[in-house]
Symmetry: C2
Subunit: 493 residues, 2 copies
């Protein structure tokens, strides 16, 4: 007879993997767990980093749109576009609910799929990562730790007339066995129209030179740095967040934190999948939940000419909503010593305030459960993806969802909660001006949780880290904020 | 230690499934294999079908656009839309290659997710399916066998003022265990902008009445009818094509056809997955191949106002390309005795000729391999999905791909090929006027195949039925033509 029940452990069993995938998970996990002392490796990294912060300065000066020499407003559509037709375009978006227009807004449209890639290499039995110190015009505080490569097809084709990004050749046609991770992931669906990037990790075995602004650092180091304010950039977090770690249970009692077993519960959450997990799809129930909510969402959106958006005004310096509550589109002239070309002008999207994301977590039977939400964002290809428990953008939420009272209560209105992580991180500085988000992981006590977990609306769900990671591999399932949250959780075990 | 190699059989092993999924696969397969004699059940079905063909007439008369009382061209955008803002809209699409506009065209935009659902019920140990005889204005030859429910949110909300579609309530909030299949699937990406439908199979255990144009028929009967010309409609084929069948190897020699073991090889193809299959993702290598081709595609598209499309002309009766080589947008006044409302007007998309799809197959080591192509269609959410070996639309191919010489050769230029299936089927008659496609399954002899399989471009790949079915579950991976091909293959074992 065909098929048969799985022979692996049921319930909170480990994920079944063929040998190559098993190798990858085991190597990534072992490398990420490498004990680090703040010795020579750390001093050396800090010296390099301080040097980069001193030398890699980028100055973004606000200018009028008509001072952007290679950008202009299209006569027909009013879209703000680069003369080459490449990079990105500022166009309009019309957002509908149940077929009725509820909002227009500008949106960034970049149809090319970029490559975000880390090169890794094994030395002394553990993986090291080639990080880049990269300044971006919208960054708040100088350069950030970035993937080895962040390149669009425009970069690859050298539209800007500069040099090709270093190391790009390792990602364009890698040998199959060298690819440790590869998926297509979304970005902010409130600011981007259907943008995606290819998130890759590629292993090299031959010697690779360190260019000036690149350094090989232990994966274990990079993992621990994610929670530092404004240090690891959004693209790096996106790749890290999706890596299939599977830490083993703690050997002894956890002495690192005076906690209630948080760290042990977190580690167990990586390898815990519900008993009804579909092992062909890897995450059957979770996927069905998302399918139903995607099918039922009343939200839809379509691009329209920027000229036609209602409720926004364009001045010489900015495109802004009438109520002055939302983001602005601005222009900047950028000067740098370190980029492919020495100076350029470009539009930037400036949020009006700090964003705020909260991941509510709870220990149930020794396993950490995360409260996620299937949330709509008009610019996502499938409209709905898995978001953190609470997400308040720096500006207007186009799909207008108030976090439900239950979630707010669970997130700390009661006294029985502990903040496990609280950090302010930057969003993409190449497109956004000073976009920062506060990320919090808040643990609630199962005993004190409001009324009942089942009282939450059906768009909320308690999941394990392992469930999210399995979903992440498929691409276009987890929002960029959820991937950042996963990267933050990776820093805690 | 986390994870571990799979304990199931490697190589051409069966897919590992947890018990509930195993039950579903086993029941679907057993039901689809039920031996049928052309006795009472068949006579009874034919009598009903002949009655439906006599009574369920639909007349679509061409009219001018301004004779459509509830449709009109938007003053600002020029889009052709329903007064309610619901149903679908005819808008414009701008297709780009490497960022350069290569083509404009009209496109159908329907942001709502429809439900396509079959009700099934077990009787005497096998599943029966509630089929609907459904006429559509664009159908070539009267009603077709359709899913129990084809409903958009507009239908559900009864925008048209008629009655709610029968049986819809079984699909809107079914108990979890009753859902045997549930995924979001694309439709023609050359004619629709990012359309998706929720493909469902829901089991009922209570008694369900048969309305006049609905009949319970054996799943085995429906499976066998797929290959009949213009009988099983596109939506039904889409659902059937994705069903996770897993027929067991033939017990004895196949006496049904004087063949070379085609049927045995086909059956083996359902449960054959390559040795390197990723059992968490279910189809790791295939998914990686698709990811790389999606990331690298030079094609992109965005909706634009219909008023702005270049190269097309609008007359009182149609919207047509200057060269008269592509589809037309027309209008029809529809009269019927059987639909929720008795008469209505609507636009229809009329292809210029018959489409043609070929699936090249080959028996390798006793297992049928299918030649598929990761092909671009501008209206698909991920632009690239898995298509049959060859696809020539009834009109212009917007992404302008000539089938490669190797594929054409493999498909029959040499003498050593056998046509295993050759049928003409209708595409969606609710949106398309007389859109028919010839579907062929052509087996080539491994000995006679041109030069080498590896000589094919990287967008082509040999896969098993099992691989495609595992991919199908994820949604938005297989084009509608590929799902139709799978439904056709289902009819052959």
């Amino acid at each position: 007879m065909p098929g048969g029940p799985p022979s692996g452990p049921a319930g909170t069993g480990h994920r079944s993997l063929p040998s190559r995938e098993f190798d990858t998970v085991e190597r990534l996990t072992r490398s990420a767990e490498e004990p680090l002392v703040d010795g020579a490796e750390w001093s050396w990294f800090r010296a390099w980093w301080n040097e980069r912060r001193r030398d890699d300065r980028m100055l973004a000066r606000p200018v009028a749109f008509d001072a952007l020499s290679t950008w202009g407003f299209d006569r027909e559509s009013g879209d703000l576009a680069h003369d080459s037709g490449r990079y990105f375009t500022v166009t309009g978006l019309r957002v509908r609910r149940h077929g009725v227009t509820v909002r227009d807004q500008p949106i960034l449209h970049q149809p090319e799929t970029g490559i975000l890639g880390f090169l890794v290499q094994e030395r002394a039995g553990v993986l090291r990562v080639l990080v880049q110190a990269k300044a971006e015009p919208g960054n708040i505080d100088g350069p950030q730790l970035s993937p080895t490569v962040q390149a669009t097809a425009s970069n690859q084709a050298r539209v800007h007339g500069g040099s090709s990004p270093p190391y790009l050749e390792y990602f364009t046609d890698p040998p199959r066995d060298a690819v440790l991770a590869d998926s297509l992931q979304s970005e902010q669906g409130i600011w981007f129209w259907q943008k995606q990037n290819r998130n890759m990790v590629v292993e090299v075995t031959s010697s690779v030179p360190e260019h000036e602004s690149f350094r090989w650092i232990p994966l274990a180091r990079l993992r621990r740095l994610v929670a530092a304010d404004h240090l690891v950039n959004m693209d790096a977090r996106s790749i890290l967040g999706c890596l299939p770690f599977a830490p083993a249970p703690l050997a002894g009692p956890d002495t690192r934190l005076p906690d209630n077993g948080f760290r042990a519960a977190l580690r167990r959450s990586y390898t815990s999948l519900p008993a009804d997990t579909d092992r062909t799809g890897g995450h059957g129930e979770l996927r069905r939940w998302l399918t139903a909510l995607r099918a039922a969402t009343p939200w839809s959106a379509r691009p329209i000419p920027l000229r036609q958006i209602d409720g926004w005004e364009r001045s010489a310096l900015e495109i802004v909503d009438g109520a002055r509550r939302d983001f602005r589109i601005t222009a900047a002239r950028v000067h740098t010593a370190s980029r492919e070309v020495a100076a350029w002008g470009q539009p930037l999207l400036a949020p009006r305030g700090q964003g705020h994301c909260v991941l509510v977590v709870m220990i149930v039977e020794g396993v950490l459960r995360l409260l996620v939400r299937a949330a709509p964002e008009p610019g996502l290809r499938h409209v709905v993806e898995v978001a953190p428990s609470i997400r308040v953008p720096g500006g207007v939420d186009p799909c207008d969802h108030e976090p439900s009272a239950e979630v707010l209560a669970a997130a700390g209105a009661s006294g029985a909660s502990r903040t496990r992580l609280d950090t302010v991180l930057s969003e993409e500085g190449g497109r956004f001006l000073h976009a920062d988000t506060r990320y919090q992981v808040v643990e609630v006590d199962p005993g004190s949780r409001p009324s009942d977990v089942d009282a939450l609306p059906p768009s909320y769900r308690w999941v394990t880290v392992g469930e999210l990671l399995t979903l992440a591999e498929l691409g276009h399932q987890l929002t960029i904020e959820t991937r950042t949250m996963l990267a933050c959780l990776h820093s805690l075990w």
